[in-house]
């Protein structure tokens, strides 16, 4: 290749440099700051933390850092149970999402080709409308005097209203509802590519439909299952809006804990420590997700 003029090499070089720098400054650096503040002491000041960074004295910088906030986290059962229940709620929601999402994705993949773009668009459309509004809509439905109880009483199914709002059940409903497009789309993408003749062959050879489903359809849609599950599990662990609006005071979740440390208790170092804890839980799934996504995009060619 011929040597390109300097000016052109300069403009070419800027293409990766600008977004790289932006993400470095606004994504990577903030994390280092969170890490730093999680290791510093709270202060009654504005901003409410003690700055520990003094370029002039590196020694005092390291002396100022301690694991006190993490000791608070480890010593208080609240954080342990919030962490465990976040992971449990997110994991169970992901399983529910798979159970609800798979039949829908399968139905779309089996529909006539000319209808499929419309069906996919119908799955995506709710995602474009506000998340907050879609969760808000469920409050009116799940309230004790809400629309669901009205309908069930009207139909004679129940005599006393069922309490769903402000329980964990409402959180599951909210997460499944809000995250459904993120589960259906990756599942559909792998199911659509599936070769139908494989299923036919299995059925011709005497396999039951159920067995054919488990030995052919499920393994072939594994990339979609993994991508969809991670896409739902990771943000669900740190979910704030859904447990806050639907879960009531009894639903403990770590994202909500971070919010209240920050906004109610104004303890920024402890909120940072909670963020680091949340991040430690999610590092492995995020790395796997990045690899899966990068591979999917690269194989699109």
């Amino acid at each position: 290749m011929t040597r390109r003029p300097f000016a052109r090499r300069l403009t070419d070089g800027l293409v990766p440099v600008i977004p790289y720098l932006w993400l470095g400054i606004f994504f990577l650096v903030p994390f280092l700051i969170v890490l730093k503040i999680s290791l510093s002491d709270p202060a009654v000041a504005q901003p409410p933390y003690k700055p520990v960074f003094e370029l002039s004295d590196i020694v005092s910088f390291f002396q100022g850092l301690d694991l006190e906030n993490f000791e608070v986290l480890a010593g208080d059962d609240l954080y342990l149970s919030a962490t465990l229940s976040s992971v449990r709620i997110a994991a169970l929601s992901t399983v529910l999402l798979l159970l609800v999402g798979f039949p829908i994705a399968y139905g779309i993949a089996r529909a006539p080709a000319r209808h499929r773009p419309l069906l996919v668009a119908l799955v995506i459309l709710p995602f474009w409308t506000s998340f907050l509004i879609r969760i808000y809509a469920w409050i009116a439905i799940l309230k004790p005097e809400g629309l669901l109880n009205q309908a069930l009483t009207e139909l004679g199914v129940i005599t006393d209203p069922v309490h769903i709002l402000n329980t964990e059940t409402a959180v599951y409903i909210g997460i499944v509802y809000a995250y459904l497009p993120f589960m259906v789309l990756p599942l559909y993408a792998s199911l659509e590519k599936m070769d139908d003749t494989l299923l036919e062959a299995a059925l011709d050879l005497g396999s039951t439909p159920w067995r054919a489903f488990w030995t052919i359809t499920v393994p072939l849609s594994m990339p979609g299952i993994i991508a969809g599950s991670l896409l739902c599990f990771i943000p669900a662990v740190g979910e704030f809006v859904i447990p806050d609006l639907l879960g009531g005071s009894e639903t403990l979740m770590i994202g909500r804990q971070l919010w209240s440390e920050f906004f109610s208790n104004r303890d920024w170092p402890l909120a940072s420590a909670v963020a680091i804890l949340l991040l430690i839980i999610l590092v492995a799934p995020i790395v796997v997700y990045r690899d899966v996504e990068a591979r999917r995009v690269e194989t699109q060619r």
Binding site: Y136, L231, P235, R290
Partner: protein
Amino acid sequence: MTRRLSLFNVTSLVIGFAFLYLPILLLVVYSFNASRLVTVWGGFSTQWYGALFRNEALMEAAWVTLRIALLSASLATVLGTLAALALTRYGRFTGRTLFTGMVYAPMVMPEVITGLSLLLFFVAIGLDRGFWTITLAHTTLTMCFVTVVVQSRLMTFDRSLEEAAMDLGAPPLRTFFSVTLPLIAPSIVAGFLLAFTLSLDDLVIASFNTGPGATTLPIRIYSQVRLGLSPEINAASTILIGIVTLGVVSATVLSKRSLLRSQRNAH
């Protein structure tokens, strides 16, 4: 093979779509409720829409949100397109693994972490919280979505068109603006719309980074929802849903029409 929908397929589609759309439909229906009690039907009325437009705090919040969304989506579109070009056209440059990590992580990262870390960053550099901090935060989050949308178009792109232009003597920058850009334009528009909607919608990141005079619509709606259901919020939601639906439907029709036109021109 003739694809035929079994009864099971049809049932799961019907139930699935009912689940997705019924709550939104109920929300819209009850925005026309005459009763102040959101869940008790008291006859048809449009009074809450009038009340909405007289609610100055809500109108002010809508205006702030719109300006933040427009500005951050525009910035995110430029940055995201550059990032997509970097990922598809620059091979294995130094630090590529870190770069893809920084692009994919914000999309799944719980918003409380992104919001908190950006806030602490803004405090550390001494930037006052408000309009600009929310805009910068939204740009950072949404540029990653733009990157993925534009990148997937660039991946399936026919490079021979660019090579032809270069062979005919067009300099790279000119080739980019007269060949590449028009061809990837639909994905850039789609990326912009996605960034715009995400910014319009965000509560968590905006809450962490907001300051005096920069109360966005989601923050305002959230604080009202915490106090209980309000028919005004139903009316505001209905308007938002209407705008989004109109936008998505017209974008779909437009892209279909331009696709048809380009197919016709190709023959």
